[in-house]
Amino acid sequence: MKSIILRKRSITKAACMKWALNNAIYIVLAALIIVITLVDSSFLSFKNFWFIITQASTRIILALGVAGIIVLGGADLSIGRMIGLAGVISASLLQSLENPNIIFPGLDLPVLIPVLLVILVCGVFSLVSGIVVAKMHVTAFIATLGMQLILYGVASTYFEKIGNASPIGGLKTSFTRFAQGGIDLGFFTLPYLILYVILVVAIMWFIWNKMALGRNMFAIGTNVEAAQVSGVNISRTIILIYIIAGLLYGFAGALEVGRTGSATNNLGNGYELDAIAACVVGGVSLMGGVGSIVGIVTGVIIFQVINYGLVYISVSPYMLYIIKGAIVILAVAIDAQKYVQKK
């Protein structure tokens, strides 16, 4: 009892610092919103809020995929090319029948089939990455760097041979509605994208917090040896986490095409950096073993607030790069402070 009272009383400078370090992302988010609002008070509106969330949606799905791999102590550089492959395949299979340049004339599939197909394709490619990492002991960095090239090659070949190397557009309305539509609630329309994100977040939260798979993932990321000695199946866990990541990339890829209306082999280029950066800003440690779903979602939203909000107050897009770069470095530096061994 006594010690609890004593602990409460001692709100020291060090304790404040620690609190600030642990909650840095929320402080940054609040600061960003305050600054933007001070410059232009019209920023704080319901419309803008939904806009940011909607824009962030596919990125949240991607970030949730790669986050598991980062918690294991790795990273995934193949995300962008996964999107590209999922994009060209799903677009080619879901063109409008009235499109004069249709690749597969007369092919009329329900939206769900190509979407599930690309989810599966990305899952299989990611499974391969997972096997390479878990069984062949290649670092995630190299395994996914190689996989990125392979995916780009596959997507480009498909794009050239099947799609005649021109952007695959003229999509079915059912497909664009799948990504851009929403449920009309009278006073406003709830975008389907938001529903998908809520579903993915819920599933991932369940896996991370309620399933043995999630617990094993954190155990491996923190202390592989302890996990091994405790009888955790290390390679099975790693491979499953990669598969889940791949499934999410495939889903996000299909949504991205539906959202933008067309696909080329370059769709998604560079998305991996945004996704990894958002995770890091959201408190997922690159050292492995640390991260939370809420943090990741917040991390993505911070990036979206920067993207949208700073453009809203007319900051130059080139300036945005500088700010984003600085924030990523700062986030990792703050994270590193927690682990530096003082001698």
Partner: protein, 499 residues
């Protein structure tokens, strides 16, 4: 209750490492419901024996029997499945997870596809209540004290149905109250017919808790006796019981004027070392003795600027000397031969030449370009002077034996021409012949008027080479002894002073 049966038997276990016979036909047996203490000096082979049992090392010959059946484990996991658990000195836990996650890791209770938290909490509480352990099952491991982490490990062992529990120095960082609690838990485990192998340097505790004691020395089984037949003095005599033979060169060094004075040195960060005061004279070899974990390495690392010093003074030739970084230290005439040769001594992927010149590069640089003639000359000098056995100076250092690697590192420091040599376990992992050469070299350095500080866990070596010995105990100086007048018994008693 007389159900005592033999739980574990080790028969004539032998294990050699290159140049060292770590275990020499060691016998050991553990009875149901009893505590069997395993004692011996550092390097006596206790840990090696346990590692062989646990499948971390493979024994060269001999046999382990559990309940009469022969076993040989390839991995620790197999050992755990066969009912053996080890509570490590360095606990192997997942710090980011909760207490109960750690206990049930690898075998979570499940409800459909999710982890059944309710069952997990209930089962954890049941085990804790059973063993009278008071730790919150939902607390994070990172927020627990060492003693609490240890209790969690013991509970985990019990939950795995372990019948044989190895405790390696379990009380080394516990308070007296925590030790009492640990002993109560051990009592509970005994009631459950578990057998406990208890490794410790704390002989008074062994008299309290153990039923039987096995004494090991130099990889050999010396004696196994019931605790009732033993006293602390008897145990020490059997642990030490060795004659000093001609294993050391003749001492010819003359101790001169004071060279280095260390005054109330204190380190800033964990592990804390405080109030270190001593002096080192020119031509003197000062030994530092102490048990593992007595923080001897931290002192020399503090002196060399590897660790941050928060208070105290260091005087070199009577003048204040601040070694803020190893670079400062080198230019102030210090040299540090590190304890873990593979980890922070050698550059295993570089050749002998690069390993020799690495601490002295500025000397061989002309407008940024290395002077190969001078390098070749000095490298050859080191190889000749120290009689490094190697086909060429371009050979990768990892292809040399431990003794020759150590000579190369000595050579590295001879070239920086230091006045003070800080040697941390200079003969660890080196065969007997090479040890003699290292001793000779240390004495030659002293003869040249250098000051030498030598940390060693081998007491005969300190007694044979050093002039004075500073004995550390639990991060504090327990006393200084004159090697001519002291005995291993006195040093061992000092080393246990504050533990």
């Amino acid at each position: 209750m007389e159900t005592n049966g033999c739980l574990l038997e080790a028969k004539k276990i032998s294990k050699s490492f290159p140049g060292v016979k770590a275990l020499d036909e060691v016998d050991f047996s553990l009875q149901c419901g009893s505590v069997h203490a395993l004692i011996g000096e550092n390097g006596a082979g206790k840990s090696t024996l346990m590692k062989c049992l646990f499948g971390i090392y493979r024994e060269d010959s001999g046999q382990f029997l559990i309940n009469g059946a022969s076993v040989s484990f390839q991995t620790p996991k197999q050992a755990i499945q066969s009912g053996i658990s080890m509570v490590h000195q360095e606990l192997n836990q997942v710090s980011t997870l909760r207490v109960m996650d750690n206990i049930w890791l690898g075998r979570f209770p499940k409800k459909y596809i999710a982890i059944d938290e309710k069952v997990m909490i209930a089962k954890t509480k049941e085990i804790f209540d059973d063993l009278e352990i008071r730790v919150d099952p939902e607390a994070k491991i990172a927020n627990l004290s060492v003693s609490e982490c240890q209790m969690v490990e013991i509970a985990k062992a019990a939950s795995q149905g372990a019948k044989i529990i190895v405790m390696d120095e379990p009380t080394s960082s516990l308070s007296e109250k925590e030790v009492d609690h640990l002993f109560r838990v051990i009592g509970k485990l005994k009631e459950k017919q578990c057998g406990i192998i208890y490794i410790s340097h704390k002989l008074d505790e062994i008299l309290r808790i153990a039923d039987e004691v096995t004494i090991m020395r130099d990889g050999k089984h010396i004696a196994t006796q019931p605790v009732s037949a033993l006293t602390i003095d008897k145990m020490i005599t059997m642990m030490v019981g060795r004659q000093l033979t001609q294993r050391f060169p003749k001492k010819t060094n003359v101790v001169g004027k004071p060279l280095l004075e260390v005054d109330h040195l204190k380190l800033q960060y964990e592990p804390l070392v405080e109030d270190v005061s001593f002096s080192l004279h020119a031509g003197e070899i000062l030994g530092i003795a102490g048990l593992e974990g007595s923080k001897r390495t931290e002192i020399v690392e503090g002196l060399f600027g590897v660790r941050k010093v928060s208070a105290g003074k260091v005087l070199l030739h009577g003048r204040a000397c601040k070694n803020k970084t190893p670079r400062n230290s080198i230019s102030n005439g210090f040299a540090l031969l590190t304890e873990e040769r593979k980890f922070n001594g050698i550059f295993s992927g570089l050749n002998i030449e690069n390993n020799i010149i690495i601490a002295n590069l500025p000397k061989y640089r002309k407008v940024g370009v290395l002077k190969h003639k001078a390098i070749n000359k000095d490298t050859s000098w080191v190889v000749d002077r120290l009689q490094v056995k190697t086909p060429s100076t371009k050979t990768l250092i990892r292809n040399l034996s431990g003794g020759n690697q150590q000579k190369v590192i000595f050579g590295r420091w001879l070239l920086t021409q230091p006045q003070i040599f800080l040697l941390d376990e200079p003969t660890r992992g080196i065969d007997v012949g090479a040890k003699y050469e290292i001793y000779q070299l240390i004495l030659e350095l002293a003869n040249e008027g250098k000051g030498v500080i030598m940390i060693s866990s081998e007491m005969p070596e300190l007694l044979g080479v050093a002039d004075r010995i500073m004995v550390m105990s639990n991060g504090r100086i327990a006393g200084f002894v004159d090697t001519k007048k002291t005995s291993q018994e006195e040093i061992l008693q000092l080393a246990a002073k504050f533990v």
